[in-house]
Symmetry: D2
Subunit: 138 residues, 4 copies
């Protein structure tokens, strides 16, 4: 069964909180990535597809922040597949604490060939990967 | 003299590089913030305006990635003020290595009142801050 | 019932792994701190004791590394209280993956008064905190 | 000329500062590593010696913290070679802000063979590396 979405429960760690007492904005990109890798594991895959000579660098990433997250709060990171192209996958992401919407993100990754000493080059996502995913129905 | 832009020279550190041998995408948001704080210092200000009871959380941040950055490479982070609103400032950012464009970012911050035990609330940027900045001419 | 030890289960995240494919050594200090805060929550406490005008900065921290941890591996972080002084607490920590010992750490924290605009100053750990902890029996 | 020590000037970044307004203790290990890599560049070397099939993982690291570092403060990180063994190098490190001693650290690294799909194994430091370094005279 191809997968479309994944939800991660997480607690805010001390080293993620800044001087103002809220999660530093850069951490949301790591939260989104954590959820992405959970989605991949759910699909039976690892994003570190070294054996296949592939890597999946990010080509775009964004977040809009609505409310702060504070130390030790529990929250959810929901990611879903918004689009699958020949060489790219686009995700949409929501961070929530209970019923409160904290932040909304998006991220696009590309499939590239990745061999030591060679430059990365965009390639088609192999069917063995693409067949495990499908676009989420809104 | 109000300031509009700032350029930071930086070297890629080992702990910024991921498994694929390139700077992890989350680091670009920290690079952009480093340049922002350099811009504020150039304006004679600190973003940590605790005495004034203010904080400047991010309300949106994004990056588009064109080329990878690798360990020990030197690069530049250029930030400029794209817009100044009553309560917000919007920045545009470019990361380059020599003549190579690496990534393009944007970030919007809001001015909020920040006192212990009270929720953050958007407020007008004080004139003593706003007067130090002006929108960059393209 | 005072608490003496805490065990945390954790998975290696992508952003924790370095160029060599192993968890960057600086992350073990964050793992140890995560386990410490779990221990404090187990004791009904938060390390962010702002209301009490206290903070608990680290005065010493160390790790010895035996084996590498790799991306997506699951591991355990066990922390126990090795000593309680008037103003300090000392922890011992072990990171294991199944039966494999990965790393051994230690950390000493101090109790300091922490009020805006005043320098931190070591003070006695209040009884309301100290009574929740006890030294672990080896 | 073999090198023995290196000094790095650095400014505290916002994302390095924690809730208590001071640099998070885990960052000192990254500062020490930054200085180490500066030392290696001074010696004409890169710690990322992939071509040589080598890596230099840390086998021990420690810090003692005397004074806090705060946002935007400038400080120095001085690293020197304390010992060179057949397979290991030991460093001593001092973090200072002007005349104020902030923290004292130590770190031992090992030379290991590092080839895809093979476990890391301690090996002798090649003469082409070892000859570039010498133990610092106190």
């Amino acid at each position: 069964m191809p997968v479309s979405e994944f939800r991660l429960r997480r607690r805010v760690q001390f080293y993620e909180v800044d001087f103002a007492g809220i999660v530093h904005f850069s951490w949301f990109f790591r939260y989104m990535e954590e959820a992405e890798h959970g989605l991949w594991r759910e699909a039976g895959l690892s994003i570190a597809a070294h054996d296949a000579g592939l890597a999946f660098p990010r080509v775009a990433a964004s977040f809009e922040y609505r409310r702060p997250l504070r130390f030790e709060e529990e929250f959810d990171v929901s990611i879903r597949i918004a689009a699958i192209g020949e060489k790219t996958i686009r995700y949409a992401c929501e961070v929530t604490r209970g019923d409160t919407r904290i932040a909304t993100g998006a991220m696009t990754i590309a499939c590239v060939s990745h061999r030591p000493g060679e430059p990365m080059k965009a390639v088609a996502i192999p069917a063995s990967f693409a067949s495990r995913f499908q676009v989420a129905t809104e």
